[in-house]
């Protein structure tokens, strides 16, 4: 579990923000809340809960975190459901549904549901809602993925469960569905004190650049994403080349390793081919635990690109904005929620658009600086973990005042 405390965030968010969290939490002290998800290690949800649970505990919420159990067959089914919800063709046979339900029922039997609030994360534990009538709890479904264009069969299978919850939470309006229950906007968040986001000494950043043999002689344009066609790394190279006709710069493409993903290896080869041994293009394959290196690369960059063709929320954008970097991002997924055009970054719709914005920002460093500063303020307002805590506290109050628009405490 995370070892940070709420007071550790005061230098970042200010005393008043924490004061308001304490005020919100006062009326919730002793409330029993259970978070249920499918894994304690690996993946974004586990990472979020590792940060969130201790901080809510510190505010006096009696919080528990339950991880469901299942064999390989269960998780094969849930992976298939996950992919289908993302719109990918994925099998969901009758037998798969049976396995999903059987394992879910077994987990329900072994879980203490005597709580005030139960938050179910993503589809894996969704069948827990069948136990709703056995408890007095309020039930919340936290959907971390984009279900706006699912395979209909998968959605129809889950919809009946979703509609039984007291509320659903989505990361973006784009990701939600029409539902007969209240839906609330819960942006994902970054932890400003984590290795990925905390301040770094200049000497450390220099060491990282030296290790990757990155000179500091010209502006550095960086995209940090796994090597996946949906992140359009080849398009990034094309945009860089168009911009380089007018203004000299260096391109860094840094991303996750390819050892366990055959397609990633193919994409990496495509990228290397496209790079054509340009000495100003640096392709860096990073191992999974590279938070500090990513942090350093982002901080050393002049501009950060996120030229995705499709994207989930794209929280890497917030990571870059937090570091006051001007960000050029595609208008896909959750990126438009983070980049307000001409205020917190540049939204683009094409390779040519990306190239133009690179040229513009490199030739107008004051404008680029302003975008980075406003981006940092916007992340401080909307995408930090303290904001997530505030959202959860508000949600807990709202669950006990259904139908009210203004809740006086």
């Amino acid at each position: 579990m995370s070892s940070t405390h709420l007071m550790d965030y005061e230098p970042i968010v200010g005393h008043q923000t924490l004061e308001e969290l304490y005020l919100l939490a006062e009326g919730l002290k002793g409330k029993r809340v259970k978070m249920v998800n499918s894994t304690a290690i690996g993946g974004g949800v586990a990472e979020i809960l590792h940060q969130l649970v201790p901080l809510l505990d510190e505010l006096g919420i009696q919080i528990q975190w339950e991880v469901i159990k299942g064999g390989e067959d269960f998780f094969i089914v849930t992976k298939s459901i996950h992919n289908a919800l993302h719109g990918e063709a994925a099998p969901l046979t009758q037998r798969m549904k049976e396995i999903f339900l059987e394992v879910s029922q077994e987990n329900i039997k072994n879980t203490d549901l005597d709580q005030d609030i139960i938050v179910i994360h993503d589809p894996q534990p969704i069948v827990f809602i069948e136990a709703k009538d056995r408890t007095h709890a309020k039930w919340v479904w936290r959907c971390h993925i984009d279900v706006s264009h699912p395979v209909e069969e998968a959605w129809n299978f889950l919809k009946g469960y979703v509609e039984q919850f007291d509320a659903a939470l989505f990361s973006s309006p784009r990701f939600s569905k029409r539902l007969p229950i209240p839906q609330f906007l819960f942006f994902p968040s970054i932890d400003p004190l984590s290795d990925k986001n905390r301040e770094l000494e200049p000497e450390f950043i220099d060491q990282v650049l030296d290790r990757f043999q990155l000179p500091r002689d010209k502006p550095m344009i960086t995209q940090i994403s796994r090597f996946d066609r949906l992140k359009d790394p080849v398009g990034v190279i094309k945009a860089y080349r168009m911009a380089k006709h007018y203004t000299d710069c260096r391109l860094v493409l840094a991303g996750g390793g390819a050892s366990d993903d055959p397609e990633s290896e193919l994409v990496l080869n495509e990228v290397r081919t496209e790079a054509k041994q340009d000495p100003d293009i640096h392709i860096i394959v990073l191992p999974p635990t590279s938070s500090l290196d990513i942090n350093a690369l982002q901080r050393a960059s002049t501009i950060i690109l996120q030229k995705s063709i499709r994207e989930g929320f794209g929280l890497t954008v917030s990571e870059a904005l937090w570091k006051k970097k001007p960000v050029i991002g595609s208008a896909v997924g959750g990126i438009p929620a983070q980049i307000i055009p001409n205020l917190t970054g540049s939204l683009i719709y094409s390779t040519e658009g990306a190239a133009y914005q690179i040229r513009y920002l490199l030739s107008h460093p004051e404008a680029a600086k302003k975008l980075g500063e406003y981006g940092h303020e916007y992340v401080k307002e909307e995408f930090l973990i303290t904001r997530k805590i505030r959202r959860y506290l508000l949600l807990f109050h709202i669950l006990f005042h259904p139908g009210e628009r203004i809740i006086p405490l």
Partner: protein, 232 residues
């Protein structure tokens, strides 16, 4: 819920109780891709949605002055490239409305007039959809209360941005009065009419909330020490 007023102290002055509010954004599931869809949804969306998109969401970007404070005007500018319409919507002043119904009707009228003049833009699909949201607000008393002008000055310097927004902006529609909580208390309880009017006169959409805080502090200083701070 008390905003200003409370126990009378020996001076006969009602204290000002500072509140703050936080809101959770609710997704309505409705979205508009075109101006025609936008006006259709404006006619039937809840008042809470109007309130959120005109008065509350810009608070999340309180650190900067955007071209328009209203989400509707921003979308029409950014996504539809209908700058004339965006300007007309963007110039609507919250101080001119005490009911959401009046504001809704004004916005609908402006858009429909534009569509009558330029019918070809009604069905154009924007770069991004407009997602209608609304919010649920939780209002909390803070531990701060001001007995007089000196207290008020000290507390204005330290309260959170949300508290400033709550008393300056959200108060108007909550209380149905054509002013804000600060001006109402300053005029009513402290009889500082001139100060009350100066604060009411702040053009909220051309200043960040921190700039507004600074302006209020300056106005109070000038009120407390008129010889040191000749009025501008």
């Amino acid at each position: 819920m008390k905003v200003s007023g409370g126990h009378q102290n020996g001076m006969g002055t009602n204290p000002f109780y500072f509140y703050t509010s936080s809101n959770l954004v609710e997704l309505t599931g409705e979205k508009a891709n075109t101006l025609e869809e936008l006006v259709a949804l404006l006619k039937r969306c809840t008042g809470s949605a109007i309130f959120y998109h005109v008065f509350q969401s810009y608070r999340e970007r309180h650190f900067a002055i955007e071209k328009y404070h209203s989400d509707f005007a921003q979308w029409i500018s950014n996504s539809q490239d209908e700058e004339v319409l965006a300007e007309r919507l963007g110039s609507l002043d919250v101080r001119d409305f005490v009911t959401l119904r009046a504001l809704r009707e004004s916005m609908i009228q402006i858009i429909e007039d534009h569509l009558k003049a330029y019918p070809q833009c009604g069905k154009r699909i924007g770069k991004t959809p407009f997602f209608f949201c609304q919010s649920v607000s939780v209002v909390m008393p803070t531990r701060d209360r001001a007995g007089g002008l000196e207290d008020f000055y000290q507390l204005i310097g330290k309260i959170g941005i949300r508290s400033i927004h709550y008393h300056l902006v959200e108060a108007r529609l909550r209380l149905g009065i054509h002013t804000n909580d600060f001006s109402h208390w300053l005029g009513d309880s402290l009889k500082k009419e001139r100060l009350a009017q100066r604060i009411e006169g702040i053009d909220m959409y051309l200043h960040t909330l921190e700039e507004i805080r600074t302006m209020i502090l300056r106005y109070i200083e000038e009120e407390m020490n008129p010889s040191c701070h000749p009025p501008i």
